[in-house]
Structures are given as structure tokens and as C-alpha cells.
């Protein structure tokens, strides 16, 4: 379990909010992607970029950094995706990347136990260095290789629960469940900004109730669920109609 050190401070760090001329809220949030080398960070990004930015992104710029603008109801959420180098030797440098990040994708490869363990280390690092509230998403990639699965869904879910993260299973190759992850993050950030005024902690949204749904759902169903979430913008119904109790503080 993580201890939040300065709860009252957190509520004072606003997600940067800009007001456009149309008085439409635009929230800017930085999202880092962490994970062992070869788990598919870049292909996930590339897949997402290809799908949504085909028209805008110049092919010369790599997929290591890009901005995605997602509309959630009446508001825009601008996600800045920062890809990080996954090599062990660069691990010491990663904190530079996730400072001021509002959300983090923690990726592992479901066919590799090592990547799952190294992901756990990432989380520890993250916890040690970031005192802000952060939206955490655990992503199990490569579900297209289900027959070679090593990390079970239950195991991943259980772990996600302990760190207070949301678990998703995706396939960068088959382009499954990627968009929903981004949309989820966008919504979470929006909620963080709207809930700033209240004293409630924004640190983590509980995943307790997700457990059952995710465990029973196939990968494709997960996508459906994601879509459903987006339609339901009520804060309370985000986790499938259940109130989400705050985890920390």
C-alpha cells in the first residue's frame, strides 16, 4: 500500500486548465509510458497514432512523443504521451520523464514473467519519486499470443488492485483495446480537474469493482466496456455504475 505524504498539497496542484474562446475546457495532461524493453510501448503508441492522427502526424517524427486531443462530452483533454526508453541501463533516468506526469501506463508483456516483474519495479520507482496524484493504468500487452500467456489475468488484476491501478488487456498487433485506454485516461484527468475543489483525494481510483468484469470479459468485451464508460460521464458511474470509494486518505 502506498502512503500519500501530503494530501492537502495535492488538491492544490491543478491540472492545467485552459479556457478556449468557446469557453470549452481543455485539460492538458502528461502521460508517460513505462515498461520493459520489448513489451510493445512503441507499437502501442504507433498503433494509436496511426489510427487517430494519420492525417496530421508527419511520418518523420517518431512515435515517442505525440499529443492526442480527446473530446469528452463538452471538454477537450489534451494528452501528451511521453514514451520512455525501457532498457535497464536507462532506468535511473526515467524519473526525469515522469515528473509532472498526470498519468502513467505501466506496460508488460503477458507472455513474459520478467516484464511483469520489471513493471513492478517501475511502480516502486514511480511511487518513490512522484508525490502527485497520478492515474495509473496497468496494460497487459500481446493478448493475441494468448496461447503463450505466462502472466494470468487474475495475477495482473490482483497486482493492479494493490497499487490502485486500472488493469487493461490490449493487443497492439490486433489493435484491441488501445483506444479505450486513452479515453479512460482522458476521463480520469477530466475528473481530477473537476474534483479539484473537493477535498477528496484524486490519487487513485479504485479498481475493486472492475475485477469481476475484467476477469470474465474477453478482450473484445473489454473494449465494449470501455465504450460504455465513455458514454456514462457521471462520476459515480464510471466504474460500471458503482461508487468508487477513495483509496488513500
Amino acid at each position: 500500500m502506498l502512503q500519500l505524504t501530503q494530501c492537502e498539497v495535492i488538491s492544490n496542484i491543478p491540472v492545467r486548465v485552459n479556457y478556449d474562446l468557446e469557453n470549452m475546457k481543455t485539460i492538458i495532461g502528461k502521460v508517460v509510458i513505462l515498461g520493459h524493453q520489448g513489451v510493445g510501448k512503441t507499437s502501442t503508441c504507433t498503433r494509436y497514432v496511426e489510427k487517430t492522427f494519420n492525417r496530421h502526424i508527419s511520418p518523420t517524427i517518431g512515435a515517442s512523443f505525440f499529443i492526442s486531443r480527446i473530446k469528452v462530452l463538452d471538454d477537450y483533454v489534451k494528452l501528451q504521451i511521453w514514451d520512455t526508453a525501457g532498457q535497464e541501463r536507462f532506468k535511473a533516468m526515467t524519473p526525469m520523464f515522469y515528473r509532472n506526469a498526470k498519468a502513467a501506463f505501466l506496460m508488460f508483456d503477458i507472455t513474459s514473467e520478467a516484464s511483469f516483474n520489471s513493471m513492478k519495479n517501475w511502480v516502486l520507482e514511480l511511487r518513490r519519486n512522484v508525490e502527485q496524484p497520478m492515474v495509473l493504468c496497468v496494460l497487459g500487452n500481446k493478448i493475441d499470443l494468448a496461447e503463450r500467456r505466462v502472466v494470468s489475468r487474475d495475477e495482473a488484476l490482483a497486482y493492479s488492485k494493490t497499487i490502485g491501478a486500472r488493469y487493461f488487456e490490449i493487443s497492439a498487433m490486433r489493435d484491441q483495446g488501445i483506444e479505450i485506454v486513452f479515453k479512460f485516461v482522458a476521463m480520469e484527468l477530466l475528473r481530477m480537474s473537476t474534483k479539484n475543489s473537493s477535498a477528496t483525494s484524486l490519487k487513485v481510483y479504485n479498481t475493486e469493482n472492475v475485477n469481476g468484469v475484467m476477469a470474465s470479459s474477453s478482450e473484445l468485451e473489454a473494449t465494449d466496456i470501455g465504450n460504455e464508460e465513455i458514454v456514462n460521464m457521471s462520476i459515480n458511474s464510471i466504474a460500471h455504475g458503482h461508487t468508487v470509494p477513495s483509496r488513500c486518505c
Binding site: D20, A92, R99
Partner: protein, 685 residues
Amino acid sequence: MPMCVLNLQRSYKYMMYATKQPSLRINQADLKCKNGCGFYGNADWNGYCSKCYRDHLGFEKQKKQGQAQLEKQKSNAFTKFEEKKKHQSDKKSKFLPLFRKPSNLKELEKPHRNSDLKHSNPDADKLMAEFMLTFGQLSESLRHDFFKYIQVFIKRIQTDINMNKPIEDVTEVAQKYYNTFNNGLNTSSTFKDLPSDVRDQLLDFFEKYVMTILFSSLFCPNSTNDEEKDLIIQERIRKLSWVNAHHLDCCISETSIEVRDLVYTAITDLLGMDSVKAPLDKLNCVVKCCRSVMEVLQHCQGGPASADEFLPALIFVVLKANPARLKSNILYVTRFCNDSRLMQGEAGYYFTNLCCAVSFIENLTAKSLNMAEEEFDAYMSGQITCVSAWESALVACEGMHQLRENLNILKDLSQRTTIVQEGSKMLREDIEKFKNELNETVSVVMERTPLVIKPRKSPISLNPHHEQSGGATDVSLRKHDFDQSEPENLNFYHQNLEIGHLNDYTKENLQLDITPCTLIAENASTISVEPTPEDHSHNSFGLSKINYDIDFSDFSGENSMVEDLTPERISLNVTPDPFGPLGTSSAIFQEPLVPLNTSLNVQEKTDSAKSKQQYVLPLVEKLETTLLDEDETDIQNLPSPMKPMSSYSGFSKQGLQIPSIPCNTGDISYLNAHSNASTSSKDDS
């Protein structure tokens, strides 16, 4: 509370320089604040956490102030003296600006800097021009407000610097002002109505303006040891020059020329960072560099690059570039670039990557390069001095480059050779063709003009008979063609000369009988091609001499003759070359013997006659004259050594005969009569 937030934010910023970050395995305890408060400490803050460092600073300051007060009280008597001394030292330091200490110069520098700002700063003018260009259309009040903000900012920062505040405080103040200005942009009545992108531009320009003005005092400030850090990292990179792309698991192919060029571009961009002043401009340089690196990667692996490949590549570029004042630049940007810009966006991302790269280089160990400790140490200490792959790649590339250039040159050369060869082939063909044509024409001519070859009576005799010599000339003509290039064979040459005269005569004779003169001219020209250069020069010499002689005759003789002579001259030019020199040389040999004026006189007659006669070609005329001359030379003798004999080379033969005849001195009346007679005869005919 806001202070606390600020602290937190700053601490993230400084995290990247914390010793705990880069080193791979360090105890948690090492990282904690020295004060034991539980937060993380930082080397830049003497091992304290941000809060404790601040407290510590405040404590120190108080202590100093207390001491100063104590001293003041203690040595009241001394103060005046001390002040005087200080003043003097200030003056001194003014004259020795190299050694000045900022603390001593507080009062002195302030006005100096202000004046600097107002008058003698070329940057300010440039910036002003830029401002007018970009925001010139905005209202006056807005401009006024904008510069008010700027003036306030600059003044505040300058006082802070002059008070020798730690750079962290100055940074905080600057960031606070950025925020204030940003808020002002969003809320104040003057700026509020502007579109958001213009407001962003204004914010950026604000930063650019103030930072360019304050660059000298904020970049690498005296209160920090940035310069030392620069030197350290520079030395470090120099030591790591042996690191190649392979060590870094980076896919840059060092030997490819295209990749090398792209890497050079990236390096140039990175080096450019030191030459611009505003933090945003520096950031732009970093972005440009990183984009080039992305291109390199794309080129190397043929797909979009990911962060896994990007960071090693950037490290490689930094290692090879070894930019000047790298650390100072990074610190400067970190301190004085608007946080909101630095933390987000592409620039922020790439700058973070650069910081990562620098941090990696600083803390690089054997492990991070996946090599044995001993090997790493050996490399570092210089025991193994391998030529780095990059260097050798450069050499190799240079070699390749040279090779390519040489190949190009060779290609060019071979092309030229083929052209030359073709040309020579064509030339040879032409020559062959010409030869055949020549042979053909010669044979045709030979057929048309069959010559009876008769044995010569006496080769050297100067008085051969016309008819007999006619045959001999042909033989000698042929000989002449072959042997003309032997001037030493004077005897033979002499013979030829003589025969040449004869030949001229006989040939013309023959022509008259058989062929039209045009053909002869052609024949002559074909022959004239053959002689060797020596002969040619000989010819020309002879010709010139002939001309000269003719000219002489023109002036010495009667004016009336000049006109008459011209057709002759033409005929001279037409006459075959081989006979030219013969004429001259014959003149040399026979000069005393030739009273050729007779021929001239004869010619006059013939010309006058000819004017009424039907005009034929000069050769024919000449022939006529020769015939006439032959008849008349016996009768009239007008010896005039000045007269040319060249055109009448044929007559030299007769000239030889002439001396034997007694000299009848010029009988012009007869000549006139003769001409008259001829004209009358012409009239009759």
C-alpha cells in the same frame, strides 16, 4: 501553502541533477536529507532537502548578519578606514574587470548595467525591431503595458543579482514573474481580448526579451560552479570518445555516408545551442537536433523510431558533439525557461531526453555499457587505445569518398579517351579516304595527261633543250615530290630547280594542248598538300620574297604596269607551291644571268592585247605570255635586275639563254609599236 507547492515543483526540476538519480545502486539513506526530515536530499543543496536547505540558508544569513553587526560594533573606529579601502579596491576592480567580484561591485555595476540596457545593447534594438515586426499592429497601450512588465521584471532580477542572491532564488522570482505576466495576459483588460495564440506569442516574447537582456548575468552566474561542471562533463566526454554506437546498443550505422551526414546535422544543431541567448531558442535547437536524430533512426531502421532507440542515439550524438558549456546551457534553460513550456510539449520531451543523456554520460559505468569492469577501466585510463569506430568510420568514409571521387575521375577520363579514340579513328578514315581520293585523282590526271618519259641528256646542264627537258621534268617532278625534304642534297635540288622551270613551262605547254587549266590547278593543289613543314616554310619564304620582288618592280617600273601585273600576281598565287621555291632558288642561282625585264615588257604587250582578247584563266594567259616571250626575248633586251623573275620561273630558262644574246638596250618605241600592233591585230581579228 503556495510556497510549499512551489517547493515541490522546483524539487522535481532539480531531481534530474540529484546524485541519487543517475547512480544505479545507492542506499536509500544516502539520498535522504542531511537533516533527517525524511525527504530526499540533493547535492545542489548541500545534501539537504529543499525545505531544510532554505532553512539552512536563512540560518546562515542570519549568522552572517549577526557577525557583521558584531564586527561593526567592535571596530567602529576602523569603519571609515575600511570603507575607504573598500572603495579603493572597488576602483581597482573596475580597472581589472577580469578579477572583479560581484559583491564588491554592487553599487558600481548597477548604473553601468542600466546604461547597458538602455543604450549600448544591440540585442535590445534587435529585439525591439522583432517586436515591432511581430506585434506592431497591436495597440499603443498594449505595448506600453508589455514593456512596463519587462522593465519591472528586469529591474527586479537585476537587484536580486546585485544583492548576490543564490541563483535558486532568482529562478523562483523569474518563474513567479512569468506566472504573473501570464495571469496578466489572461485577465488584464489590455491583453484579455487578444486571441490565445497571440497571447502565447507575447508570453514567449516576454521571456525571450528579458532573458536576452539579462543573459550575461544569468548565464553561468558567478554564484554557481556551473563552469566547473562544464569542464568536468567536457573532460568526461573526451575520455569517453572510444564509446561507439555498438556499445550503446544503438542502431546508427556509423559507416553509411547518408547517416553520417544526418548525424552531422544533429551535431550542428546541438552545438548551435550555445550560440543563442534566449532559453526558448536554446530549446528550439534541442528540438531540431532531436528531430535530426529521429531522422537518422528512421534512416537506419526504416520505421518510426521509439524511445528505446532514440535515447541511445541521442547519447551517441552528445558524446560525439561534446558541446561547449553543455551543463551551463542545460542549467540555464532549466532555471529560466518558463516552466509551463519546459514541462510540456515536444520541446519539454526532447529536453528531458537531453538531460537524460547528459546524466547517463555523467554516471556511465561498465555495467551500463554491458562490458567488463577491467575493460572499461582500461579504456578509461587509456591503456587500450582503440581508434573509436566513429573516427575510423570517418576515415573509412573519407576513404570511400576519395574512392568515389577517383572513380568519377576515371570514368570521366575513360569517356574522354573513347571520344579521342573515336576522333582519331575518324581522322584515320578521313586520311585513308583522302589518300584514296588523292590517288584516284592523281591516276585520273595521269591518265588524262600521259607523259612520255625520256632520258635526260645532262642533269646539271643549265641549258637543256625545251623539248628534251620536257620529258625529263616529269621524272624530276616525281623525284622532287619524294626528295624535297632533303635540302642538303643541293646538287639534286639544284637539278630539280632547273627542271622545275622547265617543268613549269612544259607542263603548261601540255596543258595548253590537252587539259583545261582548271584541272591543272586542282592537280597542283593536291600536290601542294604533300610537302613537309620545312618545305612549307621554304615555300612561304620564297613566296614572300617573290612578292617583295614584284612590289619592287611595281614601284621601280612604270606605273602603268601595276594594273597589268595584277592578274599575274593572281596567277602566282594559283601556281603550284612546289614551284614557288624553285623560282626563288633559281633566282638565287641565276640572278646575274636573268634580264627578265624583257618578259615584263612582253607581258605588258600581251596584257594590253589580252584586255581585248577573250579573257581566259591566268595560267593560260601566262602561257601565252611565255610563248610570246619566248619569241620576243631574243629581239628585245631590257635587262633590269630588279625585275622579278619568280612569276616567270618558266622564263628563267629563257633567261639563261638571253645572256648569250648581245645586249640590245631598251627599245621602248619598238615595244609600244609592238603592243599597238598587237592591239591593231586584235582589232582586226
